[in-house]
């Protein structure tokens, strides 16, 4: 949701809208499931249902990639998997580092979805020296002192921050200085980054708060009703 993409007129690298880019992984997942079931072709209607969108939107999205379907028939599953993967850049190898190996960092390290999609965990790092050498998801945790060397040696361009909020900005700065240009941030902080660096944020608390907002509305509908609108008084 919060992506800083200041290096470009945004939303149309090569003409593909951000909203479309954000849905390509959904299509890809649905297609991968079909592929595993050896389904040869799929219609926009079927695929849209599987991905949880409507078919008009899906066809519009695909139209930005090219004309990969066949009228009257649908889309070739394997061909589309390849085209979307290529478009997303998943046909190449992306070494990532995960910084902060608490429960969350460990969960990320163990997450199967990483490896299966061209993302390779190059290293796990933590500031806690006591953790160094410990195996997590089969990889030894390394001390944060090694950050710069690891990023450079492995040509890491994507960093995942799973540290406490207080450490996030410093880790971010070090990653960026070492050459990382994309950051996935799980710490509940707004990160400041220079131009050309992308930050995406995953915030558990924010998602819950949005749910609470809607939940509150549901309760209001059924029973007690909203308790008045804007108060007329101002703060003291």
């Amino acid at each position: 949701m919060a992506t800083s993409r200041s290096h470009r007129p945004a939303t149309r690298s090569r003409g593909i809208p951000e909203a479309t880019v954000a849905r390509l992984p959904l299509y890809l997942r649905a297609l991968t499931t079909l592929s595993e079931r050896s389904v040869p072709t799929v219609s926009s209607e079927e695929l849209a249902t599987a991905a949880g969108v409507n078919s008009a939107k899906l066809r519009k999205d695909f139209s930005y990639l090219g004309s990969y379907g066949t009228r009257g028939v649908g889309y070739d599953v394997e061909y589309l998997v390849y085209q979307i993967s290529r478009e997303l850049g998943l046909t190449q190898d992306w070494p990532v580092v995960i910084v902060g190996i608490g429960n969350l960092g460990a969960a990320l390290a163990n997450y199967g979805g990483f490896a299966s999609r061209g993302f390779r965990v190059a290293a796990l790092m933590d500031a806690d020296a006591a953790l160094a050498g410990k195996l997590v998801a089969g990889l030894p945790v390394r001390h944060i002192d090694e950050l710069e060397a690891i990023v450079e040696d492995n040509q890491v361009s994507i960093g995942v921050i799973a540290t406490p909020a207080g450490a996030a900005q410093e880790v971010c700065d070090r990653l960026v200085t070492a050459g990382v240009t994309s950051i996935l941030n799980f710490a509940p902080t707004v990160l400041q980054v220079p131009e050309g660096v992308d930050v995406r944020k995953v915030d558990l608390s924010i998602e819950l708060q949005i749910l609470a907002f809607h939940e509150q509305r549901k309760a209001g509908e059924q029973g007690q009703g909203p308790d008045g609108d804007v108060p007329a008084v101002m703060p003291a």
Copy 2:
């Protein structure tokens, strides 16, 4: 991002746009930080910077809530904290259950952001009987068999699913049947839910794929350049 809100014309429960609702937690976090520093008032410009948005957007967002600022002065921090909390429904208690206590579930249970905002973890549940009784974040893990009883006894309306993809839909069905009407889903699956149930999805793999897309563009800009456009041939 993927929310099904079929019980309403969406995007304007009481007139507040979805995009605005999604930003209220950001403002709230920035305001909480200011509050802790005992800052009495803040301008839209300062607060916007802290939240990572521009000030025009912030003022527009706040205008949906009411006129809580003072021209020439700014916003009273405490007052605004209260108003946004109230709007989001955080002035009440929200019991939540977390289902699936692997690394991710444990990370969620330990996440401080929950408790601090009216969210109370009513129970941790897992299908693995061997885990039952084990303490995680000070709470005993309970067996999934108890799901219905726990949801009913605690009046839980928000459920968090941190199970493997294969188990997610069944857990979701059971939660919904037991009375849960909002679900935060960490499993990489599209959940089917009846009308009136909200689902929000957090997907680690999707966020990484979006980063990879932009990362690929950056590489293309500097060096090798995009390798031709839409191919002229169709699948075999």
